[in-house]
Amino acid sequence: MNFKIPNFVKTNQFGLLCLVIFFICIFSFSTDGFTSRFNIYALSRVVALDIMIGLAMMVVILTGGLNLSLGALGVSAAMFGGWCMESMGIPIPISIILVLAFGSFLGWINGFVTVRTGVHSFIVTLATMSIYFGFMTLLTEAEAFRKLPEIFTDFGSLKLFNKYISPLLIISVLTCFILYYVFKFTDIGRKLIAAGANPDAAELSGISVDRMFIYCHMLSGFLAALAGIMLTARIGAAIPSMAGHLGFDWLLPAFLAPVLGGTLLSGGKVTVFGTMLGAILVTLINNGLYLIDVGEFWVRFFLGMILLGAVLLDRAREYFTVKNSIVS
């Protein structure tokens, strides 16, 4: 036999793709309305956000760390955006730039404290999660911004491609391509990955590891803020509880997408498109289970089980060495 398995088939992404197709088939046959225009549009709006959240977590996992403040940070940034647009009347493009800068700044705080204290980012972001959310609640008095400019909210409910796809998904996919480019084809991307893989070796090779780690946290804050803006556009208002208390609702998809996608929890490997597929898979399962009407509890149960399974997969992956390329 001279049959050789193509390399692509051996990758994690291929397995994910198969799973995605598998679940699409299952849900198409077992539920009514899964393939309806309405449902696919709804899916595209949700998946757009899950991809962005997954990417925001991925860039910190790259350093071997975590960002638990992701949800709180994203919502805080979104509320800041609501304030800019509604209370201050700042034009939309400038508001968005301000929000992204604000998110990056909050990420910088995470990174700076982590690097300077040497405490694991798990603890640091656990603390900042409370701080960000607390401050946000205090300043907004837990009031939502519901009178946002119409152009902004209309964008969130825009329907493209024969009314199947939300423009939000296009933003997320575009972000994937940009991140892939950064990690694969730039000096800075390589340095981020090297610093995450082995900080000691990277430092001795002339890379400023502290700075790279801070960049990762800033990027995470930037992407979380972007996710916050997207969520605001989607629901047409900036609401303090839109990601749950302390932003908890974001955490599960945030972990699931990159870990399913093949990003190593110990750092040093990113899988941008894996994270995208991971997010798609999570959204699919979530949506399908709701359509089957198994009840809220079972949905959470399954997602929890998938996360555990994905973490076991992570251990296995580390064991069988990372033979695939480091950026994928």
């Binding site: 694969k184 084809f185 730039t186 000096d187 800075i188 991307g189 390589r190 340095k191 990955i193 090297a194 893989a197 082995n198 000691d200 070796a201 990277a202 430092e203 001795l204 090779s205 002339g206 890379i207 400023s208 040093g268 490997k269 060495t321 990372v322 033979k323 390329s325 480091i326």
Partner: protein, 502 residues
Amino acid sequence: MSDNILELKKITKNFPGVKALDNANFRLKKKSIHALLGENGAGKSTLIKIITGVYNQNEGELFLNNKVQSFNSPNEAMNSGISVVHQERNLIRRFSVGENLMLTNLPKNNLGLIDYNAVAKESKKWLDIMELDIDPNTIVSDLTVAKMQLCEIAKALSLESKILLLDEPTSSLSPQDTKNLFVLLKRLVAEQDVSIVFVSHKLEEVFEICDEVTVLRDGKNACESEQITNLNRQQLVKLMIGRDEQIINSKKTVNFDDKNLLNLQSINTDLGHKDINLNLKKGEILGLYGLVGAGRTELLKCVLGLEKINSGQILLNNKEIKIKSPKDALEKFKIGYISEDRKKEGLILMHDVLSNAGITVWSNLKKILSFLNDQIVYNKVDPYVKQLEVKTPSYQQIVSNLSGGNQQKISVAKWLASGTDILFIDEPTVGIDIKTKSYLHELIIDLSLKGTSIILITSDMPEMISLADRIITMKDFKVVGETINTHNYEEMSSSIMGNIHE
């Protein structure tokens, strides 16, 4: 019946791609001290790991008291009376001596709680056997290195061990401590019925204390359980390295009156270096010799800005400089550092050859908007990887899959590619096969001939005397001597050891 307490017959052990042991034999006589020698990578540690149950052999048999035995875990070996005292301390530093000694078998009182009086009493018994004057309640971290070493041996004895494996037991001991240790070992063999396997690189010690010797080379026996009295030093070295000890004489001349390229002036550091003065000339190989813990690697790391320098000056071309980080050192001052620990500090094992070889040059190669692709990096590093004859199936190969020698070549290649003026080279040939070793030696000399100035740290005396132009000896974070290298082994080694042991 033979009087061998331990015998290994025709042991073969394969690792993916490597035959670590190839039909190796080993016989340990009762109540004897047996030296196990060989270069790094010769298979010593594999053999020890088979004896202690960490590995299982692929072929061959292990006899304990003339009975076939196989251990599936280190615990089983320990229960059969085999203990190993490692180079690295295996004591829990925050626990007391007594707790450490009794750790696997802590005495309990009626309530099932630990009976600390009994711990002290029981452990005192073993300390007394060793004639060690240590209070069992002392916290281990308060002991000197030598005392810790002895406590480890006491711990092994407390497990009723009849076979002790000592892995480089003297590498961090002073001559006086070493002498005391040897007296103790001889007494243990005579009085406690213990047999000892002694692993050391210091041949003088082997001649002083051992009865028999087994030498491994490339996984095979170069000699097997030979009486030590039948051999002399030259013969032993030849057995170990397969040829006569070679001291390369590069016939290179360094003008020591030249002005200094790099100059450290009365450097005091946070780590405890006191009043360090040294200078490096252009194209010179300056050796830093000292025992483990002399502060040599630490000094270089301070210079690179990784640890704090409290006072003193660093001059480059007679101008004072401040180095804040290795990035600074590389980009502003063209100083590079090849780490002694290539797995932890030298390479990113999970990444491929190309990104490891190119890591130091990315900054220089980047185009507009930080653009950098594999082709650009490849064009830059390929000549160096080729020059060093790195054996790898492709540039996409993950570095951890390469052999130690090839890994080391890559961690050297990345610094060649970076084109630094000054290179700090730290233990360049640890765990590397002989061929690569001599290749790296030639490379280092060649580099210095082309004008690169090198500070070389090595604990391998022949290597030091082969390569260095001038040798600075360090002890306890101080410089204790400076000698211009004559490349005469006997003369240099006694002069250096004299500096250390004054």
